[in-house]
């Protein structure tokens, strides 16, 4: 019973509201028509676009190759080649993954002895990979001449990885520093010095070796 009366009242109210609203609706329609005419006159004809950061081209990755000299303790200094990929987390920090390889030469003992070979040719291959964190320590400009300056940054870098040498894999720390020299926004030249520190037991007794690498590299940002 109650619900029926409610329905009647609600129906009546709705009807009344509908009648009341009708002129109002006509009014707003006329209003908006007028406004759109005004809009066309006042607002310049321009495309409305949402600005979304994802659509802005980002260049946080750096990829490149390097070439240099690597001194492997007891096994001579030889040329080294490698590739590197870095992700720049902020203007200060970057993460870098690198892979390099060199072929070591004979030890002094092998050279003097003549007939003794401590390692097979395959074992002489020295391959390493590492994951490092770099810190852009001294960003700034370097001046080639009075009117010719380039952006550059001096960085400190440290990390860990593995080295495959003398028939075994060895956990290796690396510490170093480098200079990243920007030729353009997206092309950079690197001068890098790195110490690869690892414990080797090729001669029967385990010892910590320092293997210094110096290289020049070319990288681009993408």
């Amino acid at each position: 019973m109650e619900s029926r009366t409610q329905r009647i009242f609600l129906g009546a109210a709705a009807l009344a509201a509908g009648l009341n609203l009708a002129p109002a609706a006509a009014q707003t329609e006329a209003d908006s028509e007028q406004r759109s005419v005004l809009d066309r006159i006042i607002t310049p004809d321009m495309e409305r676009r949402e600005i979304n950061e994802d659509k802005i081209d980002s260049e946080d990755f750096e990829f490149g190759v390097y070439y240099g000299v690597m001194s492997v303790e007891d096994f001579g200094s030889n040329e080294v080649t490698g590739i590197r990929l870095a992700y720049h987390v902020s203007e200060d920090f970057f993460l870098e993954a690198a892979y390099g390889e060199t072929t070591t030469s004979e030890t002094s003992f092998e050279l003097l002895n003549g007939s003794v070979q401590l390692l097979t040719p395959e074992e002489r291959e020295f391959n390493y990979y590492n994951l490092s964190i770099g810190y852009n320590f001294l960003p700034g400009e370097v001046f080639i001449s009075e009117n010719w300056a380039f952006n550059s940054t001096f960085y400190l870098i440290a990390g860990a990885g593995n080295t495959d040498f003398a028939g075994e894999e060895t956990f290796t720390y690396n510490v170093g520093m480098g200079l990243r020299f920007f030729a353009t926004d997206w092309l950079a030249l690197h001068f890098d010095v790195r110490d690869h520190i690892m414990d080797l037991d090729i001669f029967g007794e385990e010892k910590t070796t320092h293997n210094i690498e110096a290289h020049v590299g070319l990288t681009f940002f993408f």
């Binding site: 676009r49 950061e53 081209d57 992700y87 072929t103 400009e141 990885g161 060895t170």
Partner: protein, 250 residues
């Protein structure tokens, strides 16, 4: 060995040709209006590079690209430079509304999807190093793919694992999680010590850990894993692994 440098050079050249930056057409590039009194245009994307130009309030600039927290912009007068994200925070879009170009915040951390991480630690006495790629399905659940190499005096191991992570309190800045997974483990005993051969086994893992959101896109991660290696011998082998590392999210 020596074709290597040449091959690398070709790859580099091809890559440079394919995606040489800076030549994208202007149509797609967003234009914003400066709302701060002025913004500073540096010669490079970093604090150490000098300010060469400024753009004033009301001037519109085209955003060319972004590197970390810097935007490369071109002003109406054709001056090009890098502006720090903080200064671009209050710029206006073409419709006069504020453009959201703020720093990545804890909200981005809570809404993260992809995660890439590097960890180092101890794998039952051996030094271990891992890289991981994670994808978060929901606030609580994520899946992870992980590669680990552990090198020690007794044996070297390589692991490939898949795991599911559950974060019961994803909204916390220091957020604990537990994980369940399976691995394939390849063990290579040190040849100088023991005369055994390489072996590959399946393993199960349970783990506990925690994320700590540092800032921007970085978080710290601490984790303990217990691996149960299902060997072909009489007894299964248990390995404890502790590690800590850094992750970035996208």
């Amino acid at each position: 060995m020596y074709p290597q440098p040449k091959r690398l050079l070709y790859i580099l050249l091809a890559a440079v040709l394919c995606c040489s930056p800076g030549f994208a057409d202007d149509e797609a590039m967003p234009v914003v209006t400066v709302a701060d009194p002025y913004i500073e245009l540096h010669s490079g994307p970093g604090r150490g590079y000098p300010i060469l130009h400024v753009a004033e309030k009301g001037e519109s600039v085209t955003i060319l690209k972004r590197r970390t927290d810097w935007f490369k912009v071109r002003t109406q007068r054709g001056k090009v430079g890098w502006v720090k994200r903080r200064q671009m925070k209050d710029t206006l879009g073409p419709d006069g509304r504020l453009v959201d170009l703020g720093d990545p915040t804890i909200e981005d951390f809570l809404a993260r999807r992809w995660e890439f991480g590097v960890t180092g630690g101890d794998f039952e006495g051996a030094d271990s190093l891992s890289i991981s790629l994670g994808y978060r399905f929901s606030d609580n659940i994520s899946a992870e793919l992980k590669l680990t190499q552990a090198t020690g005096n007794i044996s070297d191991s390589k692991l490939a694992s898949v795991a599911l992570l559950n974060q019961p309190f994803p909204e916390w800045r220091l957020s604990p999680y537990f994980m369940l997974g399976a691995s394939r483990i390849k063990t290579d005993p040190s040849a100088t010590l023991v005369a055994t051969e390489d072996r590959s086994d399946n393993a199960l893992l349970v783990g506990l850990g925690a994320y700590y959101y540092i800032s921007r896109r970085m978080m710290l991660r601490l984790e303990y894993n217990n691996h149960l290696i299902l060997t072909s011998r009489e007894e299964n082998e248990e390995v404890n692994e502790w590690k800590a590392g850094l992750s970035v999210f996208f």
